[in-house]
Amino acid sequence: MSVAEPQHSSRARRPRPRGSGPLGWSAYVREHWLGRRLVVAVPTLWLAVFFLVPFIIVFGISFSQSVLAIPPYEPLWSWLDDRVLALRLHLGNYDYLFTDALYVSSYLYSVKVAAVSTLFCLLLGYPMAYGIARATPTARSLLLMLIILPFWTSFLLRVYAWIGLLKNNGVINNVLMALGVIHEPITMMQTDMAVYIGIVYSYLPFMILPLYSNLEKHDPALLEAAADLGARPWKAFLRVTLPLSVPGIVAGALLVFIPAVGEYVIPSLLGRSDQLMIGRVLSDEFFENRDWPVASAVAIAMLVLLVAPILVFQRYQNRELAHR
């Protein structure tokens, strides 16, 4: 059957114009490699000066010993006589972290608070991200705007505002008492719940945004295909949407979990005074005890604690990139 258009006449063969298509592009990149390196050099330098160098300093101090001096720690190396340079590494600070129960319990408490908060962020954030991803384009940009809107006010102010809501003669207790629901104010300040509320409230956008950007990319035809093959909506969600959103869940969970472990402001303002989080311990060691070596050891230990989830995050990110 020959109903085709004669697209390939023997006369119309022109060579491809130069510089078009992927070949031309990669040649362009090769010619301009210097520019590429310069672009990468700026953030590299930034990270080296403001992250790597301070990290090395803190790491060094953690092997030192506290003295009453300025700065309040012994230098790591000293000249024994004129020629011999002595390097003294003091491991006692790390040992000390395990001997005093305060540190271990603070670490565990921090991990627990961060984990529970992350779970609540996920439970609250997933439906919100899903709803935004399924909304009409106009509604979507409005909803995203609302998610980002709290950032226009200082984080510190927003946490202070929670004190006004949660305290014994705060808004919530007053309203409930006026309505006659309760007769005595509920103690909400200085509890674990207040810390959870504060962290979930503050970090929810960091859960929603990566989840949204994952869910928004899902092909709606996949859910139609699942329905077509006999899966009810809930089943289709469990078998298709949820597994495909795992990279978004991982990204969001780590963006909440990692900063929540080291959170300082929220537990200090809203939390218990008998159980400290590790961020508070760290700051107390630095500013109250002026024991910089132990404070540095606490910081390094916290970093080690967070390396594992960061590696998980990297693995998922690489895997998702490889799929594209």
Partner: protein, 378 residues
């Protein structure tokens, strides 16, 4: 091809035959836009029915209403005698092969194919057996463990087909099934599809914008335009006897001329066309008012080029060759008639001798058989 296959059974010619799909006055509106306008259609068991039309003609919307992803604004759909109103996609006896294939990227080939069976809560060994059997049919057994992104386009297409057939649906809906494949692979897959359809006895409803695809696959074609079905027929009927100017123009390439009926007898009609030198004589009658304005369609392959003037007063024209495209098995000529009108003519390249072939700027006579032109007023 398609015809020989269905010659034994042409249920649409039997007035008592039970239609498998009945579409009754179905309309679908999106706001002010009418995507499907009052369509009625019957499709019979075992057919490969192609809905053919340009983009935005409503063919995909009609298919999605059969699958249950869209609801008709008015009218009713029946599949196997059952009214489909309010029945969600996951309860319909229908499976669909999506244009994008919509394979689950996180599942292996076997996982994709097994998904539908798992929803039926079949026993594990039964699922395994049927998945293996289906992968055998589409020749993908050794790819069972791969993920969709590790497959070529043709392999993905076969996974999608296997996934939609494994539940043994009575009706399979295919949305541009061959659209993403290259030409060679398409021709191959077309015949594979027909083979599988015959083997499993499934009714196919195929949506395509590609008339070649429709012609090779279909037992019948429904041509759609602006939300309406403008003609239903076998590929041959649609090609040789287009019911309207739109169909004549849409299917294949055609030379359309405006004319006026000068003679309308039971056994012939004669049409005067300004653009042709001689009248057009057609050896079958039509019923139209005398001197009615009409159109005449002549397919390029039905026109013969000659160097000398044909005998007889009718069915010829004179012109100059403006362009030649040599395509191997045939050549396409663009001939400018003396009236200035350009006409497309295709000729099979029967001879290899160059001196016998027509070339640029040559003056030629065009002629055609009295049975070739199609005349219509619609």
């Amino acid at each position: 091809m398609a015809e020989q296959r269905s010659k034994s059974s042409e249920p649409w010619l039997d007035p008592h035959a039970e239609a498998y799909i009945r579409i009754e006055n179905v309309t679908r509106r999106f706001g002010d836009f009418v995507a499907v306008n009052n369509v009625s259609l019957k499709v019979y068991k075992g057919e490969i029915f192609c809905l053919l039309g340009g983009s935005g003609c409503g063919k995909t919307t009609l298919l999605r209403m059969l699958a249950g992803f869209e609801q008709p604004s008015a009218g009713a759909l029946f599949i196997d005698g059952q009214d489909m109103a309010g029945i969600p996609p996951y309860e319909r006896p229908v499976n669909m092969m999506f244009q994008s294939y919509a394979l689950f990227p996180h599942m292996s080939v076997a996982g994709n194919v097994a998904f539908g069976l798992e929803q039926e809560r079949l026993a594990r060994p039964e699922i395994k057996r049927r998945v293996a059997e289906m992968l055998e049919i589409v020749k993908l057994s050794e790819y069972a463990g791969r993920k969709p992104h590790q497959l070529s386009g043709g392999q993905r297409q076969r996974v999608a087909l296997a996934r939609s057939l494994v539940k043994r649906p009575k009706l399979l809906l295919l949305d541009e099934p061959l659209g993403a494949l290259d030409r060679k692979l398409r021709e191959h897959t077309q015949f594979e599809l027909i083979g599988i359809q015959e083997k499993l006895g499934v009714t196919f409803v195929v949506v395509t914008h590609d008339q070649e695809e429709a012609m090779t696959l279909a037992s019948r074609v429904g041509v759609m335009n602006r939300g309406e079905i403008v003609q239903v027929g076998t590929p041959r009927q649609i090609y040789e006897f287009p019911a309207s100017r739109f169909v004549a123009d849409f299917i294949g390439s055609v030379n359309l001329f405006e004319g006026q009926l000068t003679e309308d007898e039971p056994d012939h009609v004669r049409v005067r066309c300004e653009e042709l030198g001689a009248p057009v004589y057609v050896d079958h009658g039509m019923s139209a008012p005398p001197l009615a304005l009409c159109w005449v369609a002549v397919r390029p392959e039905k026109i013969v080029l000659r160097r000398e003037r044909p005998a007889g007063a009718d069915n010829w024209a004179h012109g100059t060759i403006r362009d030649v495209a040599y395509m191997g098995d045939m050549s396409v000529f663009l001939v400018r008639l003396d009236s200035g009108r350009e006409v497309r003519v295709t000729q099979a390249n029967i001879t290899r001798k160059p001196e016998e072939q027509f070339t640029w700027d040559e003056a030629v006579f065009l002629s055609w058989d009295a049975s070739s032109p199609v005349v219509g007023t619609g």
